[in-house]
Amino acid sequence: MRFDIDERQPIYRQIVDTFVRQIARGHWPPGEKLPSIREVAAAARVNPNTVARAFQELERTGLVETRRGEGTFVTTAREAIKNCREKTAREIWVDFLGKIRELGFTNEEIQRLVAELKEENEQ
């Protein structure tokens, strides 16, 4: 586990985002047990209260569930993970579009750019 914390942004948010990305990517497969609050706090060098808040937030999104006395597990509802993955992708995409449109790119230019980058990547 590695966390790059930016102290200018809410820390719990950054921990939530890290887990959301990792779960979406399949790093933590459905039904897998997540590290404990203490372990995450130790790895991120932050206050366990902050991690607890992040876990609560994750639970609210339905991505994880806490079983009393056992720990926190990734949900087995694959649908929820899929939705979250797409939602996150959309957020990144909207963010990207906003920035690139500021530079005056049209839809055709963006499509051409994406195709070009894809080709470069494949080579």
């Binding site: 914390i5 102290e7 809410p10 820390i11 203490r38 130790a42 060098r45 209260n49």
Partner: protein, 233 residues
């Protein structure tokens, strides 16, 4: 009914020539890690000592777990001042046993783990320890106890920079007692800021800014270290 760990109401501490505290009101909820941030001379130490029951406020009200500071509150508080205040002629183990006579909550097994963690030997005389070792010894004594409220005055002073993050984490993480409230005064905000739930900025005996660390980050887009520079310079 649960009381806040600390409640200060318009606390003033006046000395013949200066005012160390100028009307500070503050509530510290149980279970929080609170950073008391300010430069040297901002009143942090005076505030800590008033909460610990070592100084009396000139005016204002102080409540620790709902009680005025005294023998009963001291049973629940671990106060760790900046400088070494232990008896130089005692060995580390003698000190731990001495403290245990007053605080039955001191756990000698936990103390043994902490001694190893902090790289200290039980048979060493306190007077022969270096400044850094004395700073670590303080944390061994404080963390070995199951105190409900821990008051740490500049805990990083004397601790070498590479081990600071490790020590801080030991404080709020692995060695912390469940539900313990921790009040940490420091002017070295960068290293300590990820562990604060709540921060209080003090300047010349007055509270200039206070809030949940995460809320302040979201609202200002600044780290506590940046806010420290902004509010206190």
């Amino acid at each position: 009914m649960t009381f806040p760990a600390v409640k200060l109401e318009k606390v003033v501490k006046r000395y013949p020539l200066t005012k160390a505290l100028d009307g500070v009101s503050l509530t510290v909820d149980q279970g929080k890690v609170v950073g008391l941030l300010g430069h040297n001379g901002s009143g942090k130490t005076t505030l800590m000592k008033i909460i610990a029951g070592l100084k009396n406020p000139t005016s204002g009200e102080v409540r620790v777990f709902g009680m005025a500071p005294g023998v009963e509150t001291k049973k629940r508080v671990a106060y760790l001042p900046e400088v070494n205040t232990y008896y130089n002629w005692m060995t580390i183990d003698e000190l731990l046993n001495f403290v245990k006579a007053f605080h039955p909550d001191l756990n000698l097994e936990k103390a043994a783990l902490l001694k190893t963690f902090m790289n200290l030997k039980g048979g060493e005389k306190i007077g022969s320890l270096s400044k850094g070792q004395q700073a670590r010894l303080k944390l061994v004594v404080g963390l070995s106890r199951q105190a409900d409220l821990m008051l740490l005055d500049e805990p990083l002073a004397g601790i070498d920079p590479p081990s600071r993050a490790r020590v801080l984490h030991a404080l709020v993480g692995e060695f912390r007692q469940e539900g313990q409230t921790i009040l940490i005064s420091t002017h070295e905000v960068k290293e300590a800021e990820p562990i604060f739930d709540h921060v209080v900025f003090l300047r010349e005996g007055r509270k200039v800014l206070e809030g949940e660390a995460e809320t302040l980050r979201a609202e200002t887009g600044h780290s506590m270290e940046e806010l420290f520079g902004e509010v206190l310079e």
